[in-house]
Amino acid sequence: MMELIRSGRLWRMCVKELRETLRDRRTIFTLVLMPLLVYPILSLALQRLILNSVSSNRNETVIVGIDSESSAEILNQVIKRSHELVEADSYRSFRYSTQENSTENLNPSATHKAVAWKADSTCDWKGAIIEKPLQKALESGEVDLTLTITQQTSGRQSKSFLFSIGYRESDSRSEFALVELRKLIQTINENEASKLRLATGADRSSPFEMIASAVPGSSSIGASLASVIPLVLVLMTITGAVYPAIDLTAGERERGTMEALIATPIPRFALLFSKYVAVLSVAILTAIANLTAMYVTLRFSGLAEALLGNQGFSLLSAIAVLPLLVVFSAFFSAILLALCSVAKSFKEAQAYLIPVIILSMGPGILSLLPSVRLTGAIAVLPLINMILMARECLTGTLEVIPGIIAVSTTLCYAVIAMAIAAQLFGMHAVPQNSEVSWRSWLRSPTQLNRLPTLEHLVIYLAIFFPIYFVAIHVLAGFRGIDLNLRVWLNAMATMILFALLPTAFAKWRKLSIPRTFPLGGIASWWMAIPGLVLIAISMWTVAHEILVFSEVIGLASLDFDKLASLEKAKAEFMTLPLWTIWLAMAVLIAVAEEWFFRGFVLQGMLGRSEGARGIWTSIILSAILFGLFHTVAPNLLAIERFLPTTALGILIGWIAWRTGSLVPGIFVHSIHNGLLFTMPRYEDLLRQWGLGIENQKHLPIAWIVGGLLCFTIGLVIVQTTSKTPASSSLPKPEPMALATGDAQRLS
C-alpha cells in the first residue's frame, strides 16, 4: 500500500475512478440538476407552509390574556386610539363587545371573562380575563400574549401605564402578536409626544411603557423546521453518492470489467479505496452543490429567518455545516460501498439500497422533533447524530463534547463499513461462485493469524468505541444507586469491555490467545519482582508530578489539585470497605486494562515492529491510546488525565515488553491504582508526614527525591534482571541500543 501511494499509482487509480464517474451523465444529473430543481420547489413549499402560519395570524384572532377588567379597558382604548391615529383620514369605529364566557377558542375549564375587539386593520384582538396565573395560560398556548397593566404616577398630573407583556419565544404567532401590540403602543406614544411638544415645547416620557418578557416556546414551527435543512442536505448527499457507489462496484461487474480488475496484482483494498475516494468526492461535491443551492435559496427567499430564528442562515454557519456533511459522506459512502460490493448487478444493488435509504429516513424524521437533542446516547446513533449536530450548528446551540462524540463515532462506523466492504469487494467477481456471501464476513478466518494486525485493531476499536461510549454514559446514569454496587458494576463493565470482548474478538478472528495475551514466563522475570515492587509503590509520586506538570502546560480541564480526581467524592469513598477498593477499583480494572492495552494492542504492534525504534513506537502509540481512552469521561474530556496515564502506559508497556508477560504490568498497575484510592483514607497520617496532598501543588522535595530514587532503582532492576524477550511472542530486540537508553528515558 505504501508503495502504491509513493509511486502515485493509488492517486492515478482514484483519478480514473473519479474521471469515469464524472463523465457519466447520470452523476452530473444528481450533482447539478437535482439541487437546481429541488431547492426552488422546496422553498416554495416551505414558504407556503410558513406564510400560512403567519398569514393565518392576520386573519385569526390574537388572544391576549389580561389580569383585570380595568386593564382590558385600557387595552381597548389603546387599540381604539391607535387605529384612530393610523386611519385618521378614514376613521372607522370599533366593534367592541363584552361577552361573558363566549370564548370558544379558549379552554372551557378556565374561568375567565372575555372581551373582544374587532379592528378592521392588521389583526383581530381578543382579550381574555384570566383568573389563574397568566404565565400558565401563555405556556399552555391558551393565549398568545399576556398583559398586566400597572399605573405609574410620574410628575404632577401625568399618569403613565406600564404594559408588562409576556410572549412565547420563537413562536411565530406569539411574536407576531407582540410586534403588533408594540406598534399600537408606539403609535400612541409618538402621537402624544408630538402633541405635547407642540403645546408646551417640552419633551416628555411616553404615556405607555412596555416591558416584554419571554417564556420558552413549546411547539414552534421554526425550531422543528430547522432540522429540515440538514435533513434535506443529508438526504441529497446520499442521493448523490448512491449512483457512483453502484456504478463503480456493481456496475463494474455488469460491464464485465471486474474480473479483469481482480486478476491484476493490485491489492483489492487499494481498488476499493480508489473507488471509495471517488464516491466520497462525488458525495462531497453533491454536498457542496446542495449547500450552495440551499444557501442561495434560503437567503433570497427570506426563509432563513423563519426557519432558523433571528440570526438567519449566515455564510459562516453554511460553511460550518460542510465539514459535518463531509464526515457524513465518509460514513455513508463506506456503507454504500459495502452494500454494493455484494451486488452482482445494478438492479441487485438498487434492491439493497432502497431499504437502507428508507431506513435512514426514519432517524432523519425523528430528528425533526425539537425535543430530540444531541446528547450522550443519541450522539452515538449514526445519521441522526449528524443531522442533529448540523441543526445545532445552525441554530448555534452546539455543545462540544456531544459533537466530538458524534463525529468520532460516525468515523468509527465508516471504518467498520470499509472493513466489511474490503472483505466483500470483488467476491462475486467470478460469476456462479457460490462460496461467498454476506455470511463470509462473519465467518472465522480459516488460517491462523497469530497476532492481532493493525486491521484487527482498527476494526476492533471501531466496534468497541461506540459500545464503550454508551457504557460509560449508562454507568454515569446510575448516580442514584448505592456506591458500593456502582463500583462493582463499573469493575464488571470494565472487565467485559476490556478483557472479555477483546478475548472473544481474538477467538473469533482465530488469533493466538497465549501470544495476544501472554501471561506466563514467570521464570524469565521473577528476578525483577523487587524492581516491580519499588516501581509500584513509588510511581504515584511521578504520576503526581506529571499531573502538576500538565496543569502547568495548560493540559487541564478540571480542578485537579488533588492526587486523584476522586477527592470530591472522598467522603463517600471512605465508606467503602478497603477490600472493595482494592479488588474492584484496583485489581480488576488493572487486569482489564492491561489485558486490552498491553495485550491486544501492544502485542499486535510489537509483533510487527522491528528494531529499537519500532518497539518504542509500538509502546508509545499503545500508551497514547491508553491515555486517550482515559480522557473520555461522561460529558466532559478529562484532559488532565492524558499525560499521567500515557506515561503510565509507556512504563507498563516497557515492563510488558521486557518481561514478555502481562502479569508484572497488572501487578504494578493494581498497586498504583490501589495506593491512589487508599491514600485519602490516611490523610491525617500523611499530613503528619508532611504530605498534605490536596493543599500543595508539588510534593515536598524530599518525597520527590525519595520517590524518584525508588522508581529509578526499580527501573534499573527490571532492566537488568529481565531477559528480553524471553517469550516467543516478542521480537528480537537490538539489545545494545536499548540497554543503555531505557532507564534515563523513563526517569
Binding site: E20, R255, L261, A263, P265
Partner: protein
C-alpha cells in the same frame, strides 16, 4: 524439453446449484502448457472450460488439486500473498465476458491497467503504441470505449491483457461474438503471441480455427478431460479425422451411456 509454464494438477471444483445440489463442474483435470505452445481447451458449453481457466488464474479456489504458473501456485492467495501478486503479473487473461469502461478513452483504459500491473508509465506508452499497431486500434485510442464496435472492443481487450507483457496468456473464448474476419484476426494474433514464446491456454468452441492454431488439445466434456494430445494423437485415439467429428462422437457416447 522446457519446463511447462502452466501446470494444472488434478483440478476439481463443484458448485452448488440453485436447489442446493452439488454440481461437479471440473473433475480432476491435469494438463500442462510450455512456453511457445498453444494449448486448446475444447468442449461444448458447460464443459468446465471457464471454471478451469479461473482456477488456473487463481480467481477460483479449487476444491482439490492445484495449478502453477512458472512454478508458483496460484491458489490460496492469503497464505502466499506476495507470491500470488507475482504470479498474477505473469498472467494475462482475456475473456469474452470482458467489458470496457464506456466513459474512458481507449488510451486511458489501457494506461489504467498498465498502472495496475505496475508497468512504468513510459514503458506503458511504448507498449501501447506497439500493441495498437499490431491490433489495428491506433485510430480509436482517443475515442471513448462506448463508441467502439464489437471487434474493436475485442481488440482493445486483447491490448489490455497484454499491456504488462505476461509470459502466460489465458484466453477464454476470445472469438465469441466475432464474425469470420474478426476471428481470423484474433487467431493470427494468437499465432504471433506463440512466436513470441508465450505459453497460451485457449478455450474455444471454434474447432476449425483451433485445429489450425493449437499445438495440443484437451477435450473437455462434463468436467472431465476425455482426450489429450496433439492433433495426430487425438486422431489416433478417436479414429476421427477432425475435431468436429471427435466432438460429436464424444457427446453421442455420453448420450448413449
Amino acid at each position: 524439453m522446457t519446463t511447462p509454464m502452466i501446470i494444472a494438477s488434478e483440478l476439481s471444483k463443484s458448485f452448488r446449484t440453485a436447489n442446493g445440489q452439488p454440481n461437479q463442474a471440473v473433475d480432476h483435470i491435469s494438463f500442462s502448457v510450455s512456453a511457445g505452445e498453444v494449448y486448446g481447451l475444447l468442449g461444448p458449453n458447460g464443459a468446465g472450460k471457464t471454471t478451469t481457466l479461473r482456477m488456473v488464474m487463481g480467481l477460483l479456489t479449487p476444491d482439490a488439486g492445484f495449478a502453477t504458473v512458472d512454478g508458483a501456485r496460484t491458489d490460496n492467495k492469503s497464505v502466499h500473498k506476495n507470491q500470488s501478486s507475482a504470479v498474477l503479473s505473469k498472467l494475462g487473461m482475456i475473456s469474452t465476458n470482458d467489458g470496457v469502461y464506456p466513459w474512458l478513452s481507449v488510451r486511458e483504459m489501457l494506461s489504467y491497467f498498465a498502472d495496475l500491473y505496475g508497468v512504468p508509465p513510459a514503458l506503458a506508452q511504448t507498449r501501447m503504441a506497439e500493441l495498437a499497431e499490431l491490433l489495428d486500434i491506433e485510430k480509436v485510442l482517443t475515442q471513448r470505449c462506448s463508441t467502439l464496435s464489437t471487434g474493436q472492443k475485442q481488440r482493445v481487450t486483447f491490448a489490455r491483457g497484454l499491456m504488462h507483457d505476461p509470459p502466460v496468456m489465458l484466453l477464454d473464448e476470445p472469438t465469441r461474438g466475432l464474425d469470420v474476419v474478426g476471428s481470423r484476426t484474433v487467431f493470427k494474433f494468437i499465432d504471433l503471441l506463440r512466436q513470441r514464446g508465450k505459453a497460451i491456454l485457449l478455450s474455444t468452441h471454434r474447432l476449425d480455427e483451433a485445429e489450425r492454431v493449437c499445438d495440443r488439445f484437451g477435450l473437455l466434456h462434463k468436467g472431465t478431460l476425455r482426450y489429450e494430445g496433439t492433433l495426430d494423437e487425438l486422431r489416433a485415439l478417436s479414429g476421427q479425422q477432425h475435431l468436429v467429428d471427435m466432438f460429436i462422437d464424444l457427446i453421442d457416447q455420453r448420450g448413449a451411456a
